[in-house]
């Protein structure tokens, strides 16, 4: 249905002009060594989310660059009102550099260094004070209408390999989102393993849904001027796809559940579409089930689930399950 007759969705306006469907304060450890402090800092504050990742040190050039790009992308995500970077101090991905990258892109940001603060407990105290400052600074973000044209939807790749009738539901829903002016970021299997992290492939993107498409590099933020459909070559693993889509700026992610378990993402709510027959045991853990012979209302149900995720907690958010994986190119040193 057109925007006019849908119940109006609302979001929070950010200084850069984007609209968030969540109002997170994000705590990013720049390295695994800082993850415990980051977690404890976030536990002390309502609305704060700490991400946990296993990177940031003894990585070679390409991996260190990708880690920093992903952490920056998450730090400036529209669903994030403000970002606190927690650094150890001696790591490869330097926390202060990450903080400047996030702040330099217009995000409200704070920084705490564990070695600089004088240990874990001192860093936790300083981090809680920093989060309180961020909460004050972000409290005035205006409550705004959230039309579909302000929405960026990330879609995982698995539906591209589904049987035709199930795939057609995704194709029609994506088409509908695009017609309403939303940006859709579609993960596609990387042509090579691992995917090139620094830029899109040279070849022109294949046509999809009969619409013009643009390439997006894995986990690289889509520019504010970006319109329409983007294809993002991504690793096969679903969690690394989610991380890449969130780092690109998708406010909400559609995850076709064809294998593994439902898994959330730290900054973007995930709408799980359980694909029958695999996902039948997960009928209560997914937002929508898609039978092998999809029901006539399947498109509307998926669109409604997307709207619902903009309004309310998803199932994985309610359980408190969000995972994080950063794709690795080379070995760790």
């Amino acid at each position: 249905m057109p925007d006019a007759v849908r119940p109006e969705l609302r979001g929070r306006g950010r200084p850069g002009g984007t609209i968030g469907i969540r109002h997170h304060l994000l705590v990013i450890p720049s390295v695994l060594c800082a993850a415990q402090a980051a977690k404890v800092i976030a536990e002390g504050m309502a609305g704060a989310v700490a991400i946990e990742h296993q990177h940031g040190c003894s990585q070679l050039g390409g991996d260190a660059h990708l880690t920093e790009q992903i952490l920056t992308g998450l730090g400036i995500h529209p669903n994030v009102a403000g970002t606190l970077v927690v650094s150890l101090g001696c790591e490869t991905v330097q926390g202060l550099h990450l903080f400047h990258a996030i702040q330099g892109r217009g995000q409200r940001a704070e920084f705490v260094g564990i070695q600089q603060a004088g240990g874990t407990l001192a860093a936790i105290e300083a981090g809680r004070e920093a989060l309180a400052r961020l909460r004050t600074a972000t409290a005035a973000d205006p409550d705004l209408p959230m039309p579909r044209r302000a929405l960026r939807v990330g879609v995982e790749a698995a539906w591209l390999a589904l049987p035709a009738r199930q795939a057609a539901v995704f194709a029609r829903v994506i088409d509908r989102l695009l017609a309403d002016g939303a940006v859709v970021i579609q993960a596609v299997p990387a042509a090579e393993t691992p995917p090139a992290p620094h830029g899109p492939p040279d070849a022109p993107p294949p046509p999809l849904l009969g619409r013009p498409v643009s390439w997006a590099a894995y986990a690289a933020p889509i520019p504010a001027s970006g319109q329409g459909l983007f294809l993002m070559p991504a690793p096969r693993t679903r969690i690394a796809q989610k991380t890449g889509l969130a780092a690109a700026g998708a406010q909400v992610i559609v995850s076709p559940l064809v294998e593994g378990l439902p898994a959330g993402s730290p900054v973007a709510p995930v709408v799980h579409v359980g694909i029958a027959p695999y996902a039948r045991p997960f009928a209560h853990d997914v937002e929508v089930m898609l039978e092998m012979e999809p029901a006539p209302g399947a498109d509307a149900a998926l669109l409604e689930a997307l709207d619902a995720a903009c309004r309310d907690e998803t199932i994985t958010e309610a359980i408190g399950m969000f995972e994080m994986a950063i794709h690795r190119i080379g070995p760790t040193m």
């Binding site: 402090a37 990742h53 150890l88 490869t92 070695q115 693993t237 439902p262 994985t316 070995p331």
Partner: protein, 393 residues
């Protein structure tokens, strides 16, 4: 002290802790593992490894070995595996074959996430009851396997804390125990000194082999090891080259003969000083040594690294008084006193050894008090080299 108090485990092994561990087999079960452990005394692991169809068999094997070794570490009284699908059950059988009390929750068979939470809590309760019935008994000091590690190194690491830890390693080896020296990338440049201490030509050859293999794989990726090592903090701390870092890092292993070189996360068959081939990444190294059966680790640090382990006590030894004072929440022992003349390498080594025995018998380390429980999966690093990267013979 020839006897200490430890937990008796199957197959003659001894534990320094009595953990119940919740272990996800896939990344997407990590949140579930955390949710299961929440509100209980159980510890848990979170990781980001999601098997993919194009996974190398060597990678799969390395990760299975790591998970199985970690879950059957003697500090673990019982383990609850969490899997997405029944196909991942073999690790349950492997841990049970090793004599470990173990159970499994398969989410697809438990009726989804909510069903798995319910079933998992029941099974966790039963495992917890088993652990609660176990008590410390007299055990030989020689039952201990010590993991040695340095992280956030500075110019003093090789002068104070690492050689003092080497003294402690020697004391443990002389008492019949095992000390593990690892982080191959931080032994580059010290290989000739270590190979000389091998008990046989085969061991000496293995020392050269693991070091050359790491150098080769970095080159094969078109990178320079010097881009990641020494790390920015090492350089700020006064280290100039990887060779300088290595000569200091190798001192953690003390002076005794090197009995064996083992692959990542492989349990040594020899007692005494052994070398394990691990990345220099602090967390991957710690996980590898733990999966091999180390019940305790001593971690020296110049800059102040706070990390610990979900299942083993990790003692932090500062290389300098500045870090020891500044990060006193995190640091257990200050080897900077050697520089000030208040301690000698020998007296500091004895202090580390005694602190290690105390921690093994239940004294909590700073990292344990602060809740540090870092874990990271180490991928098979040598794919770029095959077939030259055949495992050690």
């Amino acid at each position: 002290m020839d006897e200490i108090l430890l937990y008796r485990r199957p197959a003659g092994r001894w534990g320094a802790r009595n953990h119940v561990l919740v272990m996800p087999l896939v990344a997407s079960a990590s949140g579930l593992a955390r949710a299961l452990a929440r509100g209980t005394d159980a510890t848990w692991v979170e990781h980001d490894y999601e098997p993919a169809p194009d996974d190398l068999p060597q990678n799969r094997e390395r990760i299975d070995r790591t998970f199985a070794g970690f879950a059957t570490n003697p500090n673990v009284a019982a383990v609850l595996w969490v899997a997405d699908a029944p196909g991942r059950a073999p690790l349950l059988a492997a841990s049970q074959r090793a004599g470990q009390r173990a159970d499994l929750v398969v989410v697809t068979e438990a009726g989804g996430i909510r069903g798995a939470l319910e079933q998992g809590r029941d099974r966790l309760r039963a495992l917890g009851a088993h652990a609660a019935g176990l008590h410390r008994e007299r055990a030989p000091v020689g039952a201990l396997m010590l993991g040695t590690e340095c992280g956030g190194s500075d110019a003093l690491s090789g002068i104070t804390a690492n050689p003092a830890l080497g003294e402690a390693s020697d004391l443990l080896v002389d008492a019949g125990g095992t000390a593990v020296l690892a982080e191959t990338t931080e032994l580059i440049g010290a290989e000739h000194l270590l190979a000389r201490r091998g008990v046989s030509k085969a061991v000496a050859d293995d020392v050269y082999r693991i070091i050359y293999r790491y150098e080769a794989v970095v080159r094969a990726h078109g990178e320079d090891i010097r881009g990641a090592n020494p790390a920015p903090g090492n350089i700020e701390g006064g280290l100039t080259t990887i060779e300088e870092k290595s000569l200091g890092a190798a001192k953690k292993g003390g002076t005794r003969p090197i009995r064996q070189v083992v692959e990542y996360a492989v349990r040594p068959t020899e007692r005494g000083l052994v070398i394990m081939d691990t990345p220099g990444n602090d967390i991957e190294q710690m996980v590898g040594m733990t999966a091999a059966g180390c019940q305790i680790a001593v971690f020296t640090t110049g800059r102040g690294t706070p990390t610990g382990s979900p299942i083993i006590p990790v003692l932090k030894v500062a290389t300098n008084s500045h870090t020891a004072t500044r990060m006193r929440d995190n640091i257990d022992l200050n080897a900077g006193l050697i520089l000030e003349g208040a301690e000698t390498l020998q007296s500091m080594g004895r202090r580390i050894y005694e602190a290690m025995l105390a921690a093994a018998q239940g004294a909590p380390t700073k990292a344990e008090r602060l809740g540090h429980r870092e874990f990271s999966v180490s991928r098979y690093p040598f794919a770029a080299l095959d077939p030259a990267a055949a495992p050690l013979g």
